[in-house]
Amino acid sequence: MKRVLLAHGDGGLYAAALLKTLFLRYFNSQELARLSDAALLPAVEGRLAVTTDSFVVQPVFFPGGDIGKLAVCGTVNDLTAAGARPLYLTASFILEEGLALDELEAVVASLSATAEACGVQVVAGDTKVVPRGQADKVYINTTGIGLADPRLVLGAERVTPGAAVILSGTAGDHGIAVLSCRDGISFRTPVKSDCAPLNRLLESVSPYYPAISWMRDPTRGGVGAVLNELAESGAADIVVEESLLPIRPEVKAASELLGLDPLYLANEGKMVIVVDENVAHNVCSALRAHPLGRDAEIIGRVEKGNGSVWLRTRLGGTRAVEMPAGLPLPRIC
């Protein structure tokens, strides 16, 4: 089996060979092919959005995805949540000496395929190799550049009481999927990670952009954390109806077994969207018409208050949904 060697980080012939035989085969970009020190991109009209994210998920391959796909989805979804259309990505790889080249190729292929599927070009990249044991197989950093859509004006200050809170699908799938294949924890579950780029899903509700006041993709910390961020920054309360929260029965069961709350489990293909109540049902229907939004629900409402998130249980009780503290599962993304 061929493996990544320290020599692949030599900046010379080995590095060039890895670039040509692997990376350039998968990334179809004129900018990359020029092999210059920086990509030169055409000027665009409008405001640019920039975001960066590092991915250290363990294991590298998990049910429903891998670190390559995740590295695209995470950054594309951050741009999308900021109201921008993703255009370009950079991808920087930190490789552990000894990583099987087949595995690296699978990751690169997946990253490339995901970028292509969501219409984003990878325009710059880098690789470094560190000695065995100083990294865990592969870490990836991606930086994304997007074009802000002028119809989307987002901000907690725009969120008003009465607004509807929509979750674009089931909560907690990624957290349970990754946890299920962790060394020392592994259990059998049919749950797959929801890892998916959401830019196309958001485009499906573009007629309603002016009615959207806030968006966030609930990754680490889950839906519970992003709702708290919104409540605190908008100084309003959010009341979530337990009966409306979409959670897969398998995720619910695994969470109960492991003592976790699906509200705090990570998602990698979900969006929390706050929208004017008058069009909330239309937005929800438009989301449901897209394969990535089939399980979308209006999960709750923004109410006057001082920054708390509440869950109304099916029995009519209420309890606070706090900001999570501490990591229930490290390295989920």
């Binding site: 109304r312 099916r314 029995l315 009780g317």
Partner: protein, 365 residues
């Protein structure tokens, strides 16, 4: 709650309970998982004026601080320490397993004790210590792990046993200076091992009505309804409100396994003190796996115990106070900077109150 039928059942139980409760009855949910479930389902406000008090049924919480110090010392000894994740952040004397891990100790979180045996098999040149914290529900898994290590001749596998049993603790609680308890909810998981009838003494000796119950909303409400009907009739008993899991005599196979591997020993409980025969220690034929016999562990320092006095976890565990009555609650003691185990453990009463019930009222209708 999964089905509409279950929801309607729960609603009917709630109505039944509220029709019968006029005064401030006090019912203790002994088990930490019950406390957390009650908070998480938002049941407490729905049940007023009924008062639900949490009890000594959170295994991490009742672990004595001296034991925590010894576990942290084990982690610093160079041994691989395997533990359930709950223990990681529990503060010992100014430090925690998490801090020890950050400082370089080899601490591994596992979900099954058998994973610790596997770690021992893969690292035969290093001692591997499993931190055994739990009640009768956890203990059979540990018994199996010890037997597995014995079968594989893994002399490097050790158990540091802080395992405890519930019956002696219930006896201590009911004979001690506990607050007047009108009834008890008995732990469902533990009862699946020890059986319903082992807890008959709660009613027959102490005259307190009790129900063994499970963990869904309707389970908890069914248990409460049963207790309240017994209070109303003045006929205390110990009823099984969790028959889909709990048998009269419990799980005899698990009981046999426990008595094969463990012997009863005195144990130190946070809040309840030393309770005779309430701990489980390895029998002599498994002594080579007993971490307490093989590692040089620090003796508890009186000064350390004095230092932790301000934390009132002990009072919470005896039902003497509820978490918001502790001066540290949500001020100096939070899940981010916990001063006691009840704020850390996922079954801890302080964590449950902090998470779900700290903010009062103000819920829009």
């Amino acid at each position: 709650m999964q089905t509409a039928a279950e929801l309607s059942f729960a609603q009917r139980l709630l109505t039944l309970i509220m029709k019968r409760v006029s005064g401030p009855l006090v019912i203790m949910e002994v088990c930490g998982t019950h406390t957390t479930a009650v908070s998480r389902y938002g049941l407490r406000p729905l049940l007023e004026p009924l008062r639900l008090l949490s009890g000594p049924g959170c295994p991490v919480c009742v672990t004595a601080s001296g034991d925590l110090d010894r576990m942290i010392a084990l982690a610093g000894s160079g041994a691989i320490v395997a533990t359930f994740g709950d223990l990681l952040r529990v503060p010992g004397n100014g430090t925690s397993l998490e801090q020890a891990q950050a400082a370089g100790a080899d601490v591994r979180v596992v979900y099954s004790p058998l994973d610790a045996v596997r770690i021992a098999a893969e690292n035969r040149d290093r001692p591997v210590v499993f931190l055994g914290v739990g009640f009768e529900t956890t203990a059979p898994g540990l018994a199996l792990a010890v037997k597995q290590a014995e079968r594989e001749s893994l002399g490097n596998f050790y158990l540091y046993s802080c395992l405890k049993t519930v019956v002696p603790a219930l006896q201590a609680l009911l004979t001690g200076d506990a607050p007047g308890l009108d009834g008890l909810l008995l732990p469902g998981h533990v009862s699946s091992v020890i059986g319903r009838q082992a807890q008959d003494f709660v009613a027959s000796v102490h005259g307190v009505p009790a129900a063994v119950t499970g963990f869904t909303e309707s389970d908890i409400l069914l248990g409460l309804a049963a207790v309240i009907l017994m209070i109303e009739k003045g006929e205390p008993g110990v009823v099984n409100a969790y028959p889909r899991v709990v048998r009269e005599a419990g799980n005899v196979t698990a009981q046999k396994l426990l008595s094969e591997v463990f012997a009863a020993a005195d144990a130190e409980w946070r809040g309840l003190g030393s309770i005779p025969g309430s701990g489980l220690t390895l029998r002599p034929q498994f002594a080579r796996h007993d971490a307490a016999l093989h590692f040089d562990l620090p003796q508890p320092q009186p000064a350390q115990q004095a230092k932790e006095e301000p934390c009132r976890c002990g009072d919470v565990l005896r039902g003497a106070i509820i978490p918001p009555e502790c001066a540290l609650f949500a001020g100096r003691c939070t899940p981010l900077y916990p001063l006691g185990p009840c704020m850390v453990s996922s079954e801890g009463a302080c964590a449950a109150y902090y998470r779900y019930e700290r903010k009062k009222g103000a819920v829009p209708a």
